[in-house]
Amino acid sequence: MKVTFPHMGHMWICLSAMLEYLGVNVVVPPPTSKRTLTLGARHAPEFACLPLKLNLGNFMEAAEQGADTILMAGGCGPCRFGYYAQVEHAILEDLGYNYRLVVLEPPRKHIGELLSKIKYITGHNSWREVIKGIYFGYQKARMVDDLEKQAHFLRPREVQRGSTDRAFKRALQEVIAARDPQDLPKVREKVRRIMGAVAVKPRPVLRVGIVGEIFTLLEPFVNYDLERKLGYLGVETDRSIYLSEWINDHLFLGLVRGQRSRKEACRAAAPYLNHFVGGHGQETVGSAVIYARQGYDGVIQLLPFTCMPEIVAHSVLPGISNELGIPVLSITVDEQSGEAGLVTRLEAFVDLLARRKGVVVQ
């Protein structure tokens, strides 16, 4: 059995750590690229959102490297993602691929089914080992998230352009290389030194909160490296969802203390959107409110074209923007998106924020 899974930003680091620790044979798909998109978009329904197209492309590229089993998350709607695993599998079968499909449904709804699926993948391992493996993956996710947060802070302040990205890349290699939970403290120390070596100078920066659909937020290929672009424009960013927070919320049911939770976002959303609308629609609204309260200069919403939950949020955001006095820019991405248009909008948005605040950035 050779297990593969779709890409979503740096999620593969966490997943392969978990699976390889348990002795599972893993095929990480090649990094999502234009080829992935071309392959996926050719065979996916036109009106499906970008995640389906890219998942499909990932699976096709992983098959070239010998993968035979797909590990996918499920869901219970209203977001369409809940049936993407089955749809993607059906498309792959039509194309002649011979993939086994293992869908992990949310523990809140199908705990028994989830456990049997995990057992299927992890085979002879004891539950104690499985839990250790999952926790190992989670710890790596947390380390990667911490690195990203540091990069968000450093990029607009770095003395030499690109030094943050270079340090981040090196630090990431260290996290990837760790094979055992026991090595993590040493790795943590090492990446702290690497990131600490980035020279910064104090200069005025703008702060922007990025909200929206999880896949679009986490996958730089899809959002055209939004965080890096903003960093270079002199903007410190924060993101409403990090992978480790998602794992804690949805797999550990919030057991790890001290991590931001979707519950706060939902509470903050209540005056504007007091109902679950699927995906991260409610979190998008709530996080925008939280960023406004925390004094952020602006909010950017990211969504894949035709994303229903985010379209609901999109129609709620102008009200929040007016009432709380925070500019909001919505960016829709799909395979037809153009980078030039995005850059123009980002620059104009940053100019708007800077002039509003009366500062000169960069």
Partner: protein, 329 residues
């Protein structure tokens, strides 16, 4: 004479303006880009040099438009700014107190909302170019009327025909249908203007609070029919500034003046670049599956700028370029 140069390299037109030290527009040049931005820019510089007195000093250069990075490299710009900011700066300088800017160019249309002289909101057309200059151009050509006469003809209408304006393609089939029904040309043209204004207000202007004074600029503002349709839809007088078609360039020049007020000398390469051999080439980088289409600008055979790569392998390999663009943006 001394002053500032503003350059706007857009999809359809390439515009250059020369502002004197007080910010008055002294020369304005409007050229068709025709898909050859480098040639258009060099031709513009040649024409401008011919019109300005010989001892004219350029104190600063600003570049904007979709070709702003290219223009910035070729001319040597002190400021490279996106077109939204440039248009807002120009309108609020020429029309003090402006609260709404309607801008329709060759392939894009935007709305900019200002309050107290500061941009508070903006939107650009996203998935649809119905209602932009290119579409009007195309329809004028199809109806065999010069684009310059489009507006005056539309104004002769007494009973505009309702045209389906949601999509440019369907608007065209609806227009053909209306022609075949026997409606008069002015009524169809006026109906088309109304449809495009409806489309603009619903798509670009949706959810925006449009308050007077309203400025209408961009190449399409030349069309008196569009202007009247906007006035009827909004219920306010719509003001078209004298240099409506080169406002982006005016804004870029004003931004250059603002930047140079802080001191320093301009990076302008001189009008001689009009006769320098610049070439834009491209290649597909095959070092990873992203297959980035890298653009390379060469000056007399030597690479002076590259962009288009995701990873920075090519754009970063010209050491000074990063810093150059960073200083200019």
């Amino acid at each position: 004479m001394k002053g500032y140069l503003g350059i706007d390299v857009g999809s359809v037109s390439t515009n250059l303006v020369f502002l004197d030290e007080e910010g008055r527009v002294r020369e304005a040049i409007y050229l068709r880009t025709r898909g050859q931005p480098i040639n258009a820019l060099q031709e513009g510089l040649r024409q401008l040099a011919g019109r300005l007195p010989e001892n004219t000093g350029i104190l600063g250069v600003g570049a904007t438009g979709s070709g702003r990075f290219l223009a910035g490299i070729i001319a040597g710009a002190d400021v490279v700014k996106n077109e939204i900011t440039s248009h807002a700066v120009a309108a609020s300088t020429l029309v003090p107190g402006v609260q709404t800017i309607l801008e329709i160019g060759g392939q894009d249309s935007k709305i900019i909302i200002l309050r107290n002289g500061v941009v508070t909101d903006f939107a650009m057309n996203t998935v649809c170019a119905a209602g932009t200059g290119s579409f009007l151009d195309q329809q004028a050509a199809r109806l065999n009327i010069p684009i310059e006469e489009f507006g005056q003809l539309a104004l002769q209408s007494t009973a505009p025909v309702r045209i389906a304006g949601r999509c440019a393609v369907f608007a065209e089939s609806d227009m053909i249908h209306k022609q075949q029904m026997g409606y008069s040309l002015p009524d169809i043209l006026a109906g088309l203007c109304e449809a495009l204004v409806r489309n603009y207000l619903n798509n670009v202007g949706k959810g925006k609070e449009i308050l007077p004074p309203v400025v209408f600029q961009g190449g399409v503002a030349a069309n008196a029919g569009m202007r009247r349709a906007f006035e009827q839809a909004l219920g306010w007088k719509v003001y078209v500034p004298p240099h409506y078609d080169v406002m982006g360039a005016v804004g870029a020049a004003l931004l250059a003046r603002e930047k140079m007020a802080g001191g320093g000398s301009t990076r302008f390469r001189g009008f001689g670049v009009a006769d320098t051999n610049f070439k834009a080439g491209g290649f597909t980088c095959e070092n990873c599956p992203n297959l980035c289409e890298v653009v390379e600008i060469t000056c007399e055979g030597e690479a002076v700028a590259r962009w288009g790569d995701r990873c920075g392998r090519w754009s970063g390999s010209l050491g000074y370029q990063d810093e150059e663009i960073r200083n200019a943006v």
